[in-house]
Structures are given as C-alpha cells and as structure tokens.
C-alpha cells in the first residue's frame, strides 16, 4: 500500500503539476472576473463556481463548462493513475500482490486523491466566500462538499470500470458516451438531486462489481499498455 501510494503521489507531483495549478486557477480567475464586474456574491455563485449546479435543461453554459472542466480533470487523473503501474515496473508490484489487492488499494488511492483535491478547492473558495458573504454557513458548505465528493466518486469508479471493460470489448466506448449523456439529463444539478447515502451505496456496488469483473480484464489491459 505504501509503495503504491508513494508511487502515485510522486507521479502526480512530478508530472501533473500543471493540472493542479489549472484546477485551482480557473475557479479563482472566474471569481476575480465576477468580483470585477460587481456581480452579487452569494451561495448560488459558490455552487456555480464549483460546477455543481450545472443545469442542462435551462442550459447555463458557464456552469456546464465548469462541471465538465472538473469532471474531466478527475476522470483524467483517475485513468492516468489507474494505468500507471501497468505501463512501467509492473513486475515490481504484480508479482508481489494479487490483482484483487492491487485494485482495492488503487481505488482507495484514487479516492483519496479526489478527496484531497476537493478539500483544497473547498478550502480556497470557502475562505474567500466566508470573507465576502456575512452569512456564509460552514454547515451548508460541508454538506455540499460531501454531496459533491460522493457524486464524483461514483462517476469516477463507474468510468474506471467501463474503461477497463473497453480493453476487452470496444463497444463499451459507446456505452460510456451514452451513460455520460444520460447522466447529463438525469442529474441536471449535483446539489439538488444527489443523495449522499444513495451515492455511497452505488459506489460500494460498483466497487464489488469491479473487483469481480477485473479478473477477466487485467490481462487485456497489460497487453494493450
């Protein structure tokens, strides 16, 4: 576990610095712009900057862009970390642990990375908003944070499972796109429609399914990496 964690952390710090900087800079630039044009700063704006009230029905394109921006970053990092051990030095890890143990730890590391990244974003934006808005409630922000985290965790793990399936069955790419489209319409706003308990339950179902399915998929992933 320690080797896996350090290897992934080292990779992120060494090769994904630009992604992290962009991840924090984009919302800050957007917020600075809003402050410059004197737009009213309220809780709705906080949610908008986090891309969690993207409404695909009334089509608020800036919110949608931010939603896609965050989701793309989280999915990109998840996939990059997922295939890292298969791309180089596979013999160091896989001859010492079973594929099940590896997958279990890997999903844990990816989930932890997501958690730390979201905490840093909420800390930065939360601090700024609490300075600007008098009645900015910490309780609401924490609730929003857990909704956001559990929502992305589900999307991320489902995406990784479909990505692994893609190596065996190419048709899966179409399912991924279809699911994303369905997701857009079914969940127009994370903040309104998401239930933390439901998300956590779905995550565990995906987790168990993934561990079961992975034994049929890992060799195809090795061969194509």
């Amino acid at each position: 576990m320690r080797y896996l964690l350090l290897n992934d952390l080292n990779y992120l710090v060494r090769f994904q610095k630009k992604i992290f900087i962009t991840y924090l800079l984009v919302p800050l630039i957007y917020l600075s712009f809003l402050l410059a044009v004197n737009i009213e700063i309220n809780l709705e704006l906080f949610n908008k900057i986090l891309g969690i009230n993207a409404d695909f029905i009334s089509f608020d394109w800036l919110s949608i862009l931010l939603y896609i921006f965050y989701l793309s970053i989280f999915l990109y990092l998840a996939v990059t970390l997922f295939i890292l051990d298969m791309k180089s030095g596979a013999e160091n890890l896989f001859l010492r642990m079973s594929y099940k143990k590896w997958l279990f730890y890997k999903l844990l590391v990816i989930g932890t990375t997501l958690l730390l990244m979201l905490i840093s974003l909420y800390l930065v934006l939360g601090t700024i908003f609490s300075l600007i808005i008098n009645n900015f409630e910490l309780k609401i922000m924490i609730n929003t944070f857990f909704k956001n985290f559990s929502y992305i965790l589900v999307i991320q793990s489902a995406f990784l499972m479909l990505y692994s399936l893609y190596f065996k069955f190419k048709i899966i790419i179409f399912i991924i796109i279809s699911l994303l489209i369905v997701n857009f319409y079914k969940f127009p706003t994370i903040i309104e429609k998401t239930n933390i308990f439901v998300n956590v339950s779905i995550y565990f179902v995906i987790f168990i399914m993934f561990i079961y399915l992975f034994k049929y998929l890992y060799i195809n992933m090795f061969e194509k990496k």
Binding site: L6, N10, S88, E91, F94, Y99, I219, E223
Partner: protein, 210 residues
Amino acid sequence: MKIEVRNVSKSFKNIDVLRNINITLEQGKIYGLIGRNGSGKSVFLKMLCAFYEPTSGEILYDGINIIKEKKFPPNTRALIEKPSFIPDISGYENLELLASIQDIIGRSEIIDALEKTNLLSEKDKKYSDYSLGMKQKLGIAQVIMENPNIMILDEPFNGIEEKTAIKLRKFLKEEKTNKIIIIASHIKDDIEGLADIIYTFDDGTIKRTK
C-alpha cells in the same frame, strides 16, 4: 518446481510473434534465451509472468495453469525491459517499500541484495540521481532480495560494469540449486558461460542450441 510451456503461440493483431513453443524449465538450472531485439523474448517472459495470455497453448507451474486460475506465478520475481522505481526516494527506500508488500524479509536481506549488486555505497542516493547502470543494479536487487524460487532477468547486464557482472554471474551460478533462473539477452556472450541450457529465438520459433 517445474514450468511447462506447451504449444504456446502468441500473436498481436494477427501478426505471429511466437509460434508453437514447447519447453520445460526445471529447478536447478539456468536457462539462457538468446535472440535479436524484437525476436519475442520479452513477450515470452511476460507470458511466463502471466502479464500476457498465450493466443493458444498453455503454461503450467507445477501442473497449474495460472492464467486460467487468474493468478500471477508464485514465488517469482522479474526484471523485464527497463527497471522502474519511485524517483524521489533512495534505492534502499524503494526496496524497503517493495519488501513491505509481502513482509517476508527485513533490513539485512535488503542490504545483502544491495551488496551483491555492488550498490551498497549508493543505497541512500535518490533513484532519480542513479545512472543507467545503477538503475539496472537496483532492478536486479529487487529480483534477488526475497530469495524467490523463480528469477526472470531480461537483459540483466545492460549498462553494468564488468566487475559487477562477474560478481552477479558467480552469485547466479551458486543460487541455481533450488531455483529456476531464466536470463534473456541479445548478446550471446552474456549468456554462454552462464546458462546450462540455451534456447535461441528466431522468426517466432525457439530452438535449443546448448
């Protein structure tokens, strides 16, 4: 301990890389695999590690088809192609972290492996500051430190100075008694004096030449 490779073929996108390979690898011998770059040696070694699946045929470890069983080979360590470690920590720390996965060895075995690969004096240096030869030595130390039953070494002497190569050859000869040691190289001289049995890879086939 015995590895049986039965009628194994491997192709990628309908291009045959290996065709109908039949060999048996037994304990107490060093096996040398010779062939030019791209002759299928690394693909063969990856199949032995259960990272690749044969297109046809089977590989049995003591009668068990591990690929069918969805397992990696037992008590096996390998260095295939380039060694890869965590760049920002030392060589010793890398080995220590890897050893902690199975937790069957301690500091003394790690130090011993570093000593055998002539890397002890550089053990606290960051991996990213290692030269190519030092990286290769750490890759070999990773293979030998846990005293595995099966050792798979792909081009192990690449970039290693003669003094260390001689020391490693001597060590491998002493260790072979209860092990299967497989060494692949495109340089005949790396293998000839060391291996008991040599197979030559050519055009997707394999032929015993010693």
